[in-house]
């Protein structure tokens, strides 16, 4: 018998006795029963995400402010590129890491800096010296101020987490209401072949491990900027 068979055997043996449903006490049914599949129903109990695009932007902005994500909404691509150039100058970027993409390619060209392309098989020590990582994303989540990056849409696993500043380029149409909608989008988009990594990123890297005092940039980026148009 393999360990797999042993463990599954013990589980099946154990499950021959059934356990009471959660919230059941002394024969009384729980006050709120929830027999249906969750999330569709449970969504209504979670923090709200906003119905219209304007409401969603407002939520995303509020969450970003609290998380110290820099979120900017522009009327055009040119404005976003201009803002990116300002970041380059104010932080003195010498080199960035990026991946090829519909949004990243023109932005990287407009920046006029040396670019380490993650898809061409990069040297990790070289990526470590890059001042910023420029990526796209799959969705912006209004409910929590989260963005979704994957190993396929955002240039692999490292470019969005290794450099000290993560800059995300996004389009207005990528805003979704809540986590349930975002995960549904991921499932629709990738169900035939999922990327090996799907990450929900909410704010720059942080820790509270020293006296519960917030410090940004524990291991990942110290800064997170979302430029959306």
């Amino acid at each position: 018998m393999t360990e797999r068979e042993n463990i599954l055997g013990r589980i099946r043996e154990a499950l021959r006795l059934s356990a009471p449903h959660p919230g059941t006490h002394g024969g009384h049914e729980p006050a709120v029963a929830f027999a249906d599949r969750p999330v569709h129903v449970a969504q209504q109990w979670l923090p709200p995400g906003g119905e219209t695009f304007e409401e969603q932007v407002e939520r995303f902005r509020a969450a970003s402010a609290e998380l110290k994500t820099e979120f900017q909404l522009f009327a055009s691509r040119e404005e976003a590129h201009a803002s990116l150039a300002k970041l380059r100058d104010s932080e003195g970027w010498k080199k960035i890491a990026a991946h090829s993409g519909e949004l990243t390619d023109p932005a990287a060209a407009a920046l006029g800096l040396p670019v380490l392309r993650s898809e061409r098989g990069y040297d990790v020590n070289e990526m470590e010296t890059c001042d910023a990582g420029l990526t796209e994303c799959d969705a912006l989540v209004a409910q929590t101020g989260t963005l979704i990056v994957t190993s396929r849409s955002s240039g692999g696993r490292a470019v969005s987490v290794l450099p000290p500043h993560h800059v995300v380029l996004a389009r207005r149409g990528q805003m979704v209401r809540d986590l349930a909608a975002a995960l549904a989008l991921v499932q629709r988009k990738y169900a035939h072949d999922y990327p090996s990594m799907i990450s929900l990123v909410t704010g720059p890297s942080r820790t509270g491990d020293i006296e519960r005092i917030l410090v940004l940039g524990a291991h990942g980026p110290k800064k997170l900027t979302v430029l959306c148009w």
Partner: protein, 466 residues
Amino acid sequence: MSASSQARDFSAKARVITRDLRHRGLIQTALKKYEVARGRKASAFNDWQSARQAAAETKWDAINHLDTYLEELVAKLEARGTKVHWASTATQAREIILGIIKSKNARCIIKSKAMTAEEIHLNDAMEKQGYEVVESDLGEYIVQLRHEPPYHIVFPAMHLTRDDISDLFQRELGSAPTREPEELTMIARRALRKKYLAADIGITGANFAIAETGMISITENEGNARLTAALPKTMISLLGIEKVLPKMEDLALFLPMLATAGAGQAITCYNTMYGGPRQPGESDGPEEYHVVLLDNRRTELLADPEQRDALHCIRCGACLNVCPIFRNVGGHTYGTTYSGPIGSVITPHLRGLQDWKHLSASSSLCGACTETCPVKIDLHHHLLHNRRNASVEKPSSLERFAYKMFAFVANRPGLWQFSKEIARLLQPLHPLVKGTALDPAKSWTATRELAPVADESFKEWWRNRR
């Protein structure tokens, strides 16, 4: 009635630490901040209580169909090139992981936070074989440098001040002294970046395992697990078999619940799903991905339907944070991997009822744990269940004798009356021996007052009032 050595150790440590005002101050400060943040985030939910019920029922579904969901999870993981290993015991899990490390000729191992790895004492095993193992979560890194186990399942270094940590870094890393948490964090960041770039193997834990899509979900704030999963050539995730969730969409509920209950955040900074090694067309990621599924007596807990819901636990640590016992004795006093109410409930199942039953007795049964639990585990009733099971399994002869004596006296009105008279006569003499070895009520009176025997019983009062 002989106490286990674990019980004696618990009492001895508790006696010292409950009088330690510095420790008390640190815990109170840390947990007060948590309480405020948590209250604020829970109130952002439209209905926190209904969300708890939904989470509890989802976990009920997962645990009560565990065999089906595990098979689905494993089939999906293997289909995309992940190697899945099954371990019935801690020893097997360690051997599997050491085997992988050996086959890769690895030297340096980077680890992100995993309580399951603490449970099987993985670091010790790897270090004994001569491998360099570095914890990358800041709190875990700090306690590793101090050669200590984590103090709390979510906040490993909660018991230390910035000065303690500065002294530690000066001693271990040769850094300059500082009182700035930010500076201390950056010292660790620089030291650990070097380790990341050199590591051959990355080991992580897991918070959830999604059966529907075959993915391991890891929750963190620092980005250390992201790096652990991105840079080394081989990645290993170690998780208990109870981590399964049926569907990906369940995360829309569980990620906010875990963050809110665990740390007072709306959602943690990074919540990442891993579905395999680097896939064709991807630019980086490990060449090999290993998932180790650990039983280690979880199936014994599963076989107890009364306490099966303890396997619903998502390790948020909320029950520790609200527990008056935890807040007084602290995390290290328990002597267990999982401390606080959930630790007191499950440790007897994982490591032996008679050795660990004292943890279930060390409770005020206030129910704060049950009330706060985001997946509605009936924690304080399970403490009672453990007490009952322990005494049914191994009755205490002294207790049985005491109750027999009581029944004998209480069933004879004359004798009962006589014993009351004696008590009234003797009680004025009690202060002479109070709290000393001669005191028959010593275990009570050492820290508390004994209620005086009333001058008049109700029966006497009723008779006299006519």
